[in-house]
Symmetry: D2
Subunit: 97 residues, 4 copies
């Protein structure tokens, strides 16, 4: 199954059996599509949950923009943060900011 | 907990207990941050899984770009798809495409 | 020209003259499309120029990521920058960062 | 000017003259930053112009979403469009759409 020729072109021999439509392994395509759709739905739900947490944080008086900056920083190495902060200070002073 | 005044400003009295730092409800902030981080990690894993499925589809000979178009269409109402396709044909003919 | 009915549907009487195709004001559509395409091309050229400047900065030894942060900050009010930096410090201390 | 060492670190000798601040070639940094800012401003103006044209198209009764699809297609080779449309039809039939 799944030869080199792109699925669905007349030359592809990958598809066999009744489900094939014009050379398409319909069952395989459906399964792949449905698996992606399920995962996309789960991902959307997670994004909504994240939004809810930030809404909760905001109503608790926290600054969401700063929280997001903090989360980005927590993915960085302390040394990397320090180097960037040093450079930023230096550049700001160079520009009189 | 979580009065109106933005969390972390000197005036906010929301924070109580030893964990408070400069008016910040540190435990609450930590819990909110860690919940977001956990969900972001799960979401990242789902995105990687989706990428894997498309890689699987590609190696099976399917056209990933067309699959993604199909997935977008499956979120639309058939009538909406039909109207857009009719208009697209009309516009293409109008421009001699 | 341009009545309420969506351009291109059979009912729209907006199109007149030989250029009309199935109710489409073809000339108007072409002109709108070509104007957008010209502006998109100009915009793409500007994006390429910006990339070139950052490449020039990098080869001159500047840190592009910090430069971009600086450019974002230069769009903010100093007071807003100061407030965010104060909060960020506070949140970092609250989380022992 | 612009040795290998990152601009702004103590070791960089690139900066000379009064404008240097902590090893930063301040004038060079300012010029690079201002050039980027000017181009970003021009780019923003172009994006606003493009938005205006789509608003004009919409008020003339055109379907903006379909226009955008048309503009994407006009960037593709006709053969590529045809192949994708053939595959899309095939995949839709395979899934009974």
């Amino acid at each position: 199954m799944g030869g080199d020729a792109p699925q669905g072109t007349a030359t592809s021999k990958a598809a066999t059996g009744p489900a094939a439509t014009g050379g398409i392994a319909a069952d395989r395509l459906r399964s792949l599509i449905e698996r992606v759709e399920r995962l996309e739905e789960e991902r959307k739900a997670l994004s909504d949950d994240i939004k809810d947490i930030f809404a909760e944080a905001k109503s608790a008086g926290f600054d969401v923009k700063v929280m997001k900056q903090l989360i980005r920083m927590r993915k960085q190495e302390p040394a990397e943060i320090e180097e960037q902060e040093t450079l930023l200070d230096l550049y700001r002073r160079a520009l009189g900011m």
